[in-house]
Symmetry: C2
Subunit: 231 residues, 2 copies
């Protein structure tokens, strides 16, 4: 019974997500779904990447949080259009929430919308938002066993951004082991190693994202896997 109800919800969401995706493709907008644990550094990643992205693309941000507008305030300070979704308890964004949020954005003028999901490695992976790609964010302090323990998001992510790399010397994080855990899932994600404290890795991540975007541009229905082979 429980499974049936959950599947109904997922079906409703999948239909709405497909509508979002068609609308984004029609408008030529690339939408990225950013997923990571609480405190993985998703908002900091946005703050550090936006200066590189806005040089070449018209970018907006959708912030998903259970409560508070703190993340949106941080993005607003950078002069980037932002909409805050407060889920009021829900552990993930869904396609309906994203449709409502982008209705508040000047979509005809945008190239790229970065959606920061609720801090959660589990549920956001199950709810398609209509995005073109998921990006997983993993801080080194969470440990390198996370891909195996939270497989779905890491299996589906087009890129994995490792954050807080400056803390590696103080943890038992092992990048080679983490890569092997990703490979064991069949992941073909691009992996970027970043540090906000040392201002490292954000230019490379932003360049990848812009390249992926150019791969899609003007090629409706162009899939991420065919983009990958072009990179």
């Amino acid at each position: 019974m429980k499974v049936v109800l959950a599947r109904d919800l997922l079906k409703v969401n999948a239909d709405l997500a497909a509508e979002n995706r068609r609308a984004f493709e029609r408008q030529g907008i690339t939408v990225i779904n950013l997923i990571g644990s609480p405190g993985a550094g998703k908002t900091t990643l946005l703050e550090k990447s936006l200066p590189f992205l806005t040089r070449e693309a018209a970018v907006a941000v959708v912030e998903g949080d259970i409560a508070t507008t703190r993340d949106a305030e941080r993005i607003e300070r950078l002069g980037v259009p932002v909409v805050q979704i407060n889920t009021g308890g829900s552990c993930h964004l869904d396609a309906q929430m994203v449709a409502s949020a982008v209705a508040e954005l000047p979509m005809t003028k945008l190239d790229l919308v970065l959606v920061e999901n609720v801090g959660n490695l589990v549920c956001p992976a199950a709810f398609d938002l209509g995005e073109q790609a998921k990006v997983a964010v993993l801080s080194v302090t969470e440990g390198n066993d996370k891909p195996a323990k939270y497989p779905r998001v890491f299996r589906e992510a087009a890129a994995v951004i490792i954050t807080k790399a400056d803390l590696i010397p103080h943890t038992d994080f092992d990048l080679a082991f983490c890569r092997s855990e990703l490979a064991a899932l069949g992941s073909q994600a691009q992996v970027f190693v970043t540090s906000a404290a040392k201002e490292q890795g954000f230019a490379e991540g932003a360049a990848w994202l812009l390249k992926v975007r150019r791969g899609w541009r003007g090629v409706p229905g162009h899939s991420l896997s065919s983009c990958r082979s072009q990179l």
Copy 2:
């Protein structure tokens, strides 16, 4: 519609949780629901606390993970009875899963069962397992804004265990600010600051837990709030 379905699930769970709670009280067993983000250090907290707890109580552990048996293997090495629940995708434990797990434990011989929930600051807070208390685990690298952003678990927790305190010098974590964020939620949680690298804080946390347990023992229906006033 969605909300109605969700409430039905929560009602079914609440009924099962009440059954669990009655059984645990009848058996004189204290059950703790340990909740934190992926990589917050929940399993390490158990590893470091169990030596103190097992001196004075018969303890078992229930490990909740979406996938893998890695956490249960770590606990097994300490010679403590442990049952691994693999939720197969579900983002939280529920009362039914816990009822099935404890059926595998020698309950008549136990004083204390520590349940490590799936790594997730959101959904586990909404699913009562029949525990006597929730304990929230927060690593300093997640940032001190987490109580405001994930209010439910921090509001309901009887204790908050801050982990990885040795990394404070490398982060912007501010313990006083974090305490003020907890206070703003109306939290009356005991706060313990721990570091596995420095072997600090685990004896104090374990002593609190054993004291809480003695407060309940032999006083069926004794609530945590009345325990608190005795401490």
